[in-house]
């Protein structure tokens, strides 16, 4: 086991030395790494309000007048009213599974959700509605962002990746070497 790790590290080092630091497929690694957490594809269509919730893993921010929209990685978007800095209000949470980025124009929110671009009417922050969806237009990342090391390869038949968690891997075949 230890030998294998050393071997792969050495291999990684070699790859780096020769200037081709990139994602490589290799066989079988046992040990600590990352594995994807999936949501069933059917659930991606379930875009709706959920009660306001705490921030767990943030992302993109967008300020529209006094409303602050804040991405919750893979899960949705928080909305805060920050008009009064001392008394901000956690107004709403939009459930958008597998979201990684978004933007707001007037009363419409555009976001990615796995392979789709979704369009959401947010004119009523408490009753949002999907108005359109362009399917299979986005190529989602199939590896953990900002990570180097082994991970369990994404199995697209298992659903959409909404998160990457630390895990003890068995026979992991994917690795990122940057």
């Amino acid at each position: 086991m230890q030998r294998k790790t050393i071997f792969f590290s050495f291999l990684g080092l070699l790859l780096c030395l020769f200037g081709s630091c990139k994602k490589e497929e290799q066989d079988f690694f046992d040990g600590l790494g990352k594995k994807p957490v999936y949501a069933p594809l059917s659930e991606l269509r379930d875009i709706r309000n959920e009660p306001p919730q705490p921030i767990q893993l943030s992302g993109t921010i967008f300020l529209q007048d006094t409303l602050l929209f804040l991405l919750e990685q893979g899960k949705g978007i928080h909305v805060f009213n920050i008009k009064d800095s001392l008394n901000t209000i956690n107004l709403a949470f939009f459930k958008i599974l597998a979201v990684t980025d978004f933007v707001v124009a007037d009363q419409v929110l555009y976001a990615d959700s796995w392979k789709d671009l979704v369009v959401i009417d947010i004119s009523d922050l408490h009753h949002i509605q999907e108005t359109d969806r362009i399917v299979n237009i986005i190529n989602p990342l199939l590896y953990p962002p900002l990570y180097n090391g082994y991970f369990e390869c994404v199995d697209e038949s298992s659903g959409a990746v909404i998160q990457w968690e630390d895990a003890v891997l068995e026979n992991a075949q994917c690795v990122i070497i940057q």
Partner: protein, 252 residues
């Protein structure tokens, strides 16, 4: 006569103000780390190795009208002065959007050629200068590849940007400026760094920088600065840069 003139001035002033605030309210502001941007009736979306242009005249029903192929690794988009700036893992792209429905690559500054290494991350643009952070995360290559940095480009000629400044950082994330001060999130040092950019070719790091855990990105909102970290956001009063004050820290 004087009165009429005065009244006209006031009216013009009010008109100008209301117009401005209306515009601002509609537009809104992104942080620096995003792959989506709106420009008039168009939306640009970065998709790994292409820039997608959507016509959003009918806001609720966008139509994909153009796909611009690029190298892999597109990460951030910023629009300044009718120009698109893309940060990718290997280059800074400048796109001409005089025809917003069909962006054209005006230049691509290869980071390996310019500064000897590549990395990711966002861009902020002010006047003729682009400020870009480049992050190289700790990895197997860590010991043999280079470090993270803030890079300043002279973009007076958008078809041929020149590197005019280079400042080593730890793990930089988002950035934004107010007047002559540039704020940079550095997750590695757990700092919000404040640079004086009065002379863009020669930045100085001020001693107004302050500690903050895991800063990710920020938005300057008048005399306020909103900084998002991994697990919360914080609001700072920046009306006096020499005395930046934390007003709020919100996680739920």
């Amino acid at each position: 006569m004087k009165k009429i003139l005065f009244a006209t001035c006031i009216a013009l002033f009010l008109f100008a103000c209301s117009k401005d605030s209306a515009l601002e309210q509609v537009a809104g502001k992104s942080g620096s780390i995003t792959r989506f941007a709106i420009y008039h009736d168009f939306m640009y979306v970065l998709n790994l190795n292409e820039v997608q242009t959507y016509n959003i005249k009918q806001k609720e029903h966008p139509v994909l009208v153009h796909r611009l192929p690029t190298d892999y690794g597109l990460e951030t988009i910023a629009i300044y002065d009718n120009t698109v700036f893309l940060g990718s893992t290997t280059a800074l792209y400048i796109l001409d959007i005089s025809d917003p429905a069909g962006p054209v690559i005006q230049s691509k500054s290869d980071r390996i050629t310019d500064i000897g290494f590549s990395g990711c991350d966002p861009v902020a643009v002010k006047d003729h200068f682009a400020y870009s952070t480049i992050k190289v995360i700790e990895n197997i290559c860590g010991t043999i590849s280079a470090q993270s940095a803030l890079v300043v480009y002279d973009i007076a000629d958008k078809s041929a940007p020149k590197v005019v400044g280079f400042y080593t950082l730890e793990i930089p994330n988002g950035l934004a400026y107010k007047d002559n001060y540039l704020f940079v999130c550095d997750e590695g040092w757990d700092q919000l760094l404040v640079f004086d950019i009065t002379t863009p070719t020669m930045l100085t790091q001020t001693n107004y920088s302050f500690s903050i855990t895991d800063p990710y990105d920020l938005i300057v909102d008048g005399t306020r600065m909103i900084v998002v970290t991994k697990t919360d956001f914080q609001i700072f009063d920046i009306s006096n840069i020499a005395q930046i004050k934390k007003i709020a820290q919100i996680s739920k």
